[in-house]
């Protein structure tokens, strides 16, 4: 058995793909604010990639805007923030060696948005590929770089700071 396989036996792994139900077990967000449909790649504590399908049935499009539906740019930021929570939530599961533990209470706040750019509008029917990479940490603060693409076209890039709560707090 390889060393990686041995490690997998010792530590229950949390690996992509994660279904919408898997994501709902990691995050406290619920309808209408659970954004991610699927996590397609995941390295706990480091990075993740997910899918968000933008549909005409999304309630927010009824008001943004009537007759000219555009998926709100701020919700693209939220997609990255939720993916960041998947990254640190899955790392917490790995560290407690229990993939059924409830880590949704670790989700903290969005603390900062820097250098957000929206290259083109996102419309119903677009499939967003959202990517997030976790960077430097200080205390509860985690720096995150994120982007969203439709097909091969990058539609949004941003740097965020999010916080992770210590569940004992």
């Amino acid at each position: 058995m390889t060393q990686a396989a041995l490690a997998a036996v010792e530590t229950p792994a949390i690996t992509a793909p994660l279904s919408a139900d898997d994501i709902a077990r990691l995050l406290p967000h619920r309808y209408p604010f659970l954004m991610l449909d699927r996590v397609t790649a995941l390295e706990p504590g480091v990075s993740a990639e997910g899918i968000k399908n933008v549909s005409v049935s999304d309630a927010v499009l009824a008001g943004h805007f009537p007759g000219r539906m555009i998926y709100p740019g701020v919700l693209l930021i939220e997609c990255v923030a939720q993916l960041a929570a998947v990254i640190y939530g899955s790392a917490a599961l790995v560290s407690v060696k229990d993939t059924s533990a409830d880590v949704s209470g670790r989700v903290g706040y969005l603390a900062e948005v820097r250098q957000a750019k929206f290259m083109r509008p996102v419309y119903p029917g677009d499939q967003l590929i959202v990517r997030a990479t976790s960077g430097a940490r200080m205390g509860a603060l985690i720096s995150v770089t994120g982007q969203a693409s439709v097909g091969r076209e990058v539609v949004m890039t941003a740097r965020l700071v999010v916080t992770e709560r210590d569940q004992e707090e």
Partner: protein, 95 residues
């Protein structure tokens, strides 16, 4: 061991240059609306000093790490209290 006048002058000049560089880095990375040459060496970075907040500590730590390859850990955040302390930290840990 006592330093010669030349060594002392050289050291002071290096320190001054490093202080100026760190001030410029601060202003650039944190988008501060202040002239870097007007920042005092002993000026507190937070509160009534440069009015940085706790969220800025992460950006500042990242900037210092990128430029000087010096990390600031959770236990070393005292180094962010004033410009002089930050420069002390960079000088002491720079390779």
């Amino acid at each position: 061991m006592a330093l010669t006048l030349e060594e002392t002058t050289e050291r002071a000049r290096n320190r001054q240059e490093l202080c100026a560089d760190v001030k410029a880095l601060l202003v650039e990375r944190l988008d501060l609306d202040v002239n870097p040459t007007l920042i005092g060496d002993d000026q507190p970075l937070f509160g009534r000093g440069l009015e940085l907040d706790s969220i800025d500590t992460l950006e500042l730590a990242m900037a210092i790490e990128e430029k000087y390859e010096v990390t600031i850990t959770d236990d070393e955040t005292d180094s962010l209290l004033s410009l002089n302390r930050l420069v002390d930290h960079v000088e002491a840990n720079r390779s």
